[in-house]
Symmetry: C2
Subunit: 481 residues, 2 copies
Amino acid sequence: MNAVIDPKKELEDLQEDLREVQELLRRHQLVEGLVERQEMPRHELVEALVHRQNGAELRAKLDRMHPADVAYILESLPLEERLIVWDLVKAERDGEILLEVSDAVRESLIRSMDPEELVAATEQLEADEIADLAPDLPEDVMADVFRSLPVEEREQLRAAMSYPEDAVGALMDFDVVSVREDVTLEVVTRYLRRFDELPGHTDQVFVVDREEHLTGVLPLSLLIVSDLEASVAAVMKTDMVTLYPDDKAQQAAQAFERYDLVSAAVVDEQGKLVGRVTIDTVVDYIRDKSEGEALAKAGLREEEDIFASVWDSVKNRWAWLAVNLVTAFIASRVIGAFEGSIERLVALAALMPIVAGIGGNSGNQTITMIVRAAALGQIQPDHAKKLYRKERGVALLNGLIWGGILGLVAWYLYSSIPLGMVMTLAMVLNLLLAATMGVLIPTTMVKLGRDPAVGSSVMITACTDSGGFFIFLGLATLFLL
Amino acid sequence: MNAVIDPKKELEDLQEDLREVQELLRRHQLVEGLVERQEMPRHELVEALVHRQNGAELRAKLDRMHPADVAYILESLPLEERLIVWDLVKAERDGEILLEVSDAVRESLIRSMDPEELVAATEQLEADEIADLAPDLPEDVMADVFRSLPVEEREQLRAAMSYPEDAVGALMDFDVVSVREDVTLEVVTRYLRRFDELPGHTDQVFVVDREEHLTGVLPLSLLIVSDLEASVAAVMKTDMVTLYPDDKAQQAAQAFERYDLVSAAVVDEQGKLVGRVTIDTVVDYIRDKSEGEALAKAGLREEEDIFASVWDSVKNRWAWLAVNLVTAFIASRVIGAFEGSIERLVALAALMPIVAGIGGNSGNQTITMIVRAAALGQIQPDHAKKLYRKERGVALLNGLIWGGILGLVAWYLYSSIPLGMVMTLAMVLNLLLAATMGVLIPTTMVKLGRDPAVGSSVMITACTDSGGFFIFLGLATLFLL
């Protein structure tokens, strides 16, 4: 049973392969140094090396691999080695592998290919797949691809490319199998037999009328168990999920999760069947979106290849650092306004970052909880009051507990009861500020129709830093000096 | 075609329903105030109210809804209203709805039910579903459920409960349809016809020998297009993904994503078929995991119901605040060690948080990128050197740019060139520290077999805060005083 695939072993095998590839490449590069002077074009050089050494074996290994596994190998290799492996991949597999790799790696691979190679790789794909690659392809390549497509596919490609990235239209494919409702299941079965194999993720065939309006779906699991004499109309289901191309992809994903779908029909405004969405695309979308959010929270503008150049990385990260620098500068000026107080009581300088820091942590907890609830659609406008009450209660309790402890510590360290009391009061007030802003910021962003996951965290930290310094130093100036 | 479901409209409808429910409840509660004195048990009261008013309509509405939609409504309601709606849900649907709601809400619902209700709700479920609920159910309820099950299901439940939450065994269900390889497709088709409907997500039937060893899979999409005279052995696929119950759930999820699966067989060590995993369970797992990570990053120990009590929220959040308090206290003591310097040059107090803050932001960017690459399995042990080189390069460049700007600002604000130079140097050094720790912390956690997503962020912030204060104040003490 060595044909059985076990993903755990698979992963280990892949890593083994990767080491083998790297070993082969190291040997190649040793030779490469010797050959370089002859100024052979790079890909010919690779050819030569691969033939001369046991690289043919490596090529054979890559040929046997699933495109997703080749993509994984490419993503795990530093740029130089990645491009050598890429040269070894059979040209007719280039397209499907480009679809599998991550955006940053895809860019690096496309940059290494000449226009003819790109056109050849793209032409083998289906219209919806070409649309996925399109944003990364040079314009002249896309123009060539367009010209080479049959009319129907050209129309499909045009349609697929017309939708924004976060619309159902961008997730849609055109592999729909449809039947009429007035035929018998016997006829349907005979019709399906004409396929060599049904398109992937076909768990149902779509039922349409003469004008291509969707009237129902016929799940294969029903078709198989039903009497072949029955008509499609008698067996088909009519309470199905349908999507419109303009729907938000996020809503389609929620429908797939909520109703455990494998595929869903996409219809236009007249109810005509135009395509379908399948669970594999939805899973990729969910994954991309949650990764995008995690990256955005740390201010990485786009997915960054771990082997990206220093300069690309700096460009990817600078905007976030600039924003944080501005908020840090504002906080610094708040402190600057109280320099006189600090000069007279230097303990304030040591204690103030604690007040600001805990406020930031606590505010981020509130925001994280609310952002999650908002993403699940659980926040109603009339809940705001309840949320404020709850979060302020939590803040008050936390402020009294932790502020109390810190007050005692400050008293002990600096032998000053008033300083301890100011510390406690400042903690309570800054946590209340954090709670208020922690509810206000994300709920306002939801009301304005913006995604609360992006930017909320910087804003709350800005509030609790500047606010924390102001509250603590202000109280100290009032009561201690 | 009003039977067609459009998720966008669906969501709006649900929110409409929710408002209706709340309106009905408000009216109920007005009456409830009047009836309370009679000390009717709560659920009888609800009964009475629902019958008296047009609440029967509400009950009918809930009956028509998909369990996932009822779950959504329950999650979106504050505790009191949630329990009233819960009382209105038909008892025989309790089980399937409990499966759909989030953990925190499930707990609140279970707490409101008496043991008999719980046993009745649980008994209707399948073994793998009962296992999912088990951790939330009281022991005596589980004992009763166990006793009431037929022998085979009892064994399945015992098996399902024996696996840790993050193992394939916990994702597995027992709805496998299997056939022998020596029969014809004609026989298979006749066998399948005996089902009323195939189990959900059956995209393939499993092929086993006399001892239940898995020998292949027969996709329905192949069965449908193949000649019925052919034998199963001739048509079945043998290069399928199989899982072991002890495999990590994460690896199963990767296999589903990578190979676009709808279902996969689970076999024991002898290769005997014991169950299957389906894409809907995997999608739920992926969602739970990514949400759990987002919550963990903000130090929320578990998913928190937005309507949880203040006390539950405090308990959920205190550990994280305590950890952060300790790191903030350490940073504060670093500052305390330099109080003499700050007293002599108070500008240091205003500038020091900038150095620490930008270091933290930059370090978190590095960690986020590496954690993501590690989750995709792209980090090889021999890459560490390359990563250090790249991240230190980025840090150096960022340090020179942003540190340079801040140096100029410090010079302008405090008319001191040496202060500006110390500021720039401190920024460069703290960013280099952030880059080094930003690679070291997650790669070390990976080496130790721990999840780098949890805890890395606190550790890096602790390093860059204490480190930033030490570097800046130390340099200032050396060169300025």
